[in-house]
């Protein structure tokens, strides 16, 4: 360690300094009502920022603080970054109230992100619960930019109620590019469940697995949603449909302060979700579960 002290080679000057970017556009995805909080997609200047799908940014609201937000646009989309934010707390509330032209700070990209290369040539099954579609959308979109490299692409998207399904305006566009979209809602609204397209059901998202026609030997699963959905959805895919745990990729969410493996808030067992994750293979999580439930 003496050598460490003598050679100041570590410094990365921008570790704590955010880059300032303009909010280009704000799109309301889900309007707030009695049960649901507002969800918006912020479009930010991208500059020369390079990233992988599944990575996240530490987004600065100046005068407020920093909050980790997944990037929900693909690296192949030039010019802009999309961040889908739900009003969950004070800072995300400020973010959802942003107007075009406002300045926010971003640090990152943070985390490991998804690796697409190991899944080329395979069928892809996206399983997204609620706002969990936000980190997966960047990946799905990138897959569509390289559509020829992949087999069947299926998106299962569930939410508590039909109004909370995310990005319904993109379903047609995705279907046009060969994505099979299947929807679920824990309860209907009296109208939604009677429509026919895209195919849908009232119930948990796991009810869609049967209809997705999963070929376990050539399917890679990307699973993101509330903790209970990751746990039970993953288990059912393994046990009932025979998808190997190492072919099931999930992303975790934790309270974070630094995003660079220092502050300790996001620790699960011996992993730092901000640098070792947020993308974990399901079998890694099963190994962690012996010590502490990662869900």
């Amino acid at each position: 360690m003496s050598a460490v002290a003598a050679q100041p080679v570590y410094e990365r000057p921008d570790l704590w300094a955010p880059r300032l970017v303009h909010v280009l556009d704000v799109r309301e995805e889900i309007a707030p009502d009695a049960n649901t909080r507002r969800v918006v997609t912020l479009s930010l200047e991208r500059g020369d920022l390079d990233y992988r799908p599944g990575q996240f940014l530490q987004v600065n609201v100046f005068g407020g603080g920093e909050v980790p937000i997944s990037i929900s646009s693909p690296p192949g989309l030039p010019g802009a970054l999309y961040l889908t934010v739900r009003h969950s707390g004070a800072l995300s509330g400020m973010l959802t109230g942003m107007r075009p032209g406002a300045i926010v700070g971003i640090r990152g990209p943070c985390g490991n992100g998804f690796s697409l290369d190991e899944h080329r040539g395979r069928d892809l099954l996206f399983v997204a619960g609620g706002i969990g579609l936000a980190p997966l959308r960047g990946l799905l979109w990138q897959v569509l930019l390289e559509r020829g490299d992949f087999g069947r692409v299926t998106l299962l998207h569930g939410a508590r109620c039909p109004g909370e399904l995310l990005y319904p305006w993109q379903h047609a566009e995705w279907e046009a590019q060969g994505v099979e979209v299947l929807l679920s809602a824990d309860r209907g609204d009296g109208c939604w469940e009677h429509q026919e397209h895209p195919p849908r059901c009232v119930g948990l998202i796991t009810a869609l697995f049967e209809r997705a026609g999963i070929a376990p030997d050539r399917t890679s699963v990307f699973l993101c949603g509330p903790p209970i959905m990751i746990e039970l959805g993953g288990r059912e895919l393994m046990q009932k449909f025979g998808v190997p745990a190492r072919r099931c990729m999930t992303t975790l969410e934790r309270h974070m302060k630094c995003g660079v493996g220092k502050c300790g808030h996001c620790v699960v067992v011996d992993r730092y979700v901000c640098v070792d994750g947020p993308v974990f293979r399901y079998d890694e999580l099963l190994a962690l579960e012996r010590i502490e439930s990662p869900w």
């Binding site: 704590w16 955010p18 603080g65 300790g264 808030h265």
Partner: protein, 388 residues
């Protein structure tokens, strides 16, 4: 590694410390009532020589709380980042004990990003403070009632991590140089140093040996690293075990604040002192249960890091109500896993406990690391008996 050994006469140390106190900031143990603390001293005579260890570890000189990470202000309603001049005044820490040196070695590896394999995430503020600091450690020859470094590889003497390691011998001091900076310092004080003779090196080894023997013979406390590590690493401790710890824990956070290897922190944006608008700062409180609070458009702010602690209730609570470790027992599990588990040893390269014994002293619930590791050992024995 120790790269050279020198002999220093007994009275030369005062001259060395006086010179260091004149030329830079010298921080050394000072008696404060019944305790000893690290403080800047003006002359060697102020340095306490007869002490076991300081009440709090010297990590606060590397991780002060609060520490500014960023400063910005609003101009015409838009944020502007301010340039922050880094302080770089050299300091010398004298009288650090081996357990704290071992802790600092771990903190340096952690903040440089090595521990998590991310060297590009080196933390500037910490490393700047580390790089400006010269460490002159002093080998313990009279361990205290709660000292357990012998169990943890944290002492009483070390092979690396210091610039100078001093051992008091019958007629003078053995100075072991452990770094480039230490070599330069030895060059600066060449007039006070002579190459150490073999008998001095042997005397030091004998004294360290005596301390270890005395510990094994007389000390009542132990960190049961093997047995406890086995139980906690394999997830063999039942939820009731952790629930009992949770009941004893008063969630004061003292254990982590005095731990030489704990470094978790929080980050907050606060109005800059004297320049921020207090009314705006009050407006930052989320106006529950009504919608969002708008961010401010005027004033100056600082982003500061503040010490934080994995046993405190809010540490992992997420916006939106997700609460991964909602019970105190689960939070205790995280703490002791990070102190004792093989997984964390593999990652950090050393045990998360250096055996300083401070958590045993501060814990109001009586669950210092010695007691908890003993409880884990009992669980292991009980499990073996059940198997037999």
């Amino acid at each position: 590694m120790v790269e050279s050994r020198w002999w220093m006469e007994a009275d030369a140390l005062d001259r060395v410390l006086d010179e260091l106190a004149r030329s830079q900031t010298l921080i050394a143990p000072v008696r404060l009532g019944a305790e000893v603390v690290f403080r800047p001293v003006a002359r060697a005579a102020d340095v306490c020589r007869d002490y076991v260890n300081a009440l709090v570890p010297p990590k606060r000189f590397f991780l002060p709380t609060p520490e500014r990470l960023l400063r910005y202000h609003f101009a015409d309603g838009q944020p502007v980042l301010d340039r922050d001049e880094a302080e770089a005044q050299p300091i010398t820490l004298f009288g650090v004990r081996s357990c704290d040196v071992a802790g600092l070695t771990q903190l340096t590896a952690f903040f440089s990003g090595e521990t998590v394999g991310q060297r590009h995430t080196a933390d500037g503020p910490f490393l700047r403070r580390r790089e400006r600091t010269t460490i002159l450690s002093v080998v313990c020859q009279k361990p205290g009632d709660t000292c357990m470094c012998v169990c943890c590889g944290g002492g009483p003497a070390l092979e690396s991590g210091f610039d100078w390691q001093l051992t008091e011998l019958a007629k003078g001091w053995l100075v072991e140089v452990g770094s480039v900076r230490g070599r330069e310092l030895a060059g600066h004080f060449a007039a006070e140093l002579q190459p150490a003779r073999d008998d001095a090196v042997r005397e030091k080894a004998a004294r360290v040996h005596t301390v270890v023997e005395e510990f094994h013979r007389h000390s009542a406390l132990r960190v049961q690293t093997m047995a406890a590590g086995r139980m906690v690493s394999q997830g063999r401790l039942s939820p009731p075990f952790w629930a009992e710890l949770g009941e004893r824990c008063v969630e004061c956070g003292g254990c982590a604040f005095v731990c030489p290897t704990c470094s978790c922190f929080n980050v907050a944006d606060v109005p800059a002192m004297g320049e921020g608008d207090v009314a705006l700062a009050a407006g930052l409180e989320p106006a529950a249960p009504g919608g969002p609070t708008a961010p401010p458009r005027t004033g100056a702010f600082e982003r500061v890091r503040l010490r934080d602690n994995c046993v405190l209730a809010g540490f992992v609570r997420q916006a939106g109500g997700v609460y991964p470790r909602a019970s105190c027992g689960e939070r205790c599990r995280t703490r002791f896993f990070h102190k004792l588990s093989w997984q964390c040893v593999q990652r950090a390269g050393a045990l998360g406990c250096t055996g300083c014994g401070r958590c045993t002293v501060v814990c109001l619930g009586g669950i210092g690391i010695d007691r908890v590791s003993a409880m884990m050992t009992r669980e292991l024995v009980a499990a073996k008996e059940a198997d037999a």
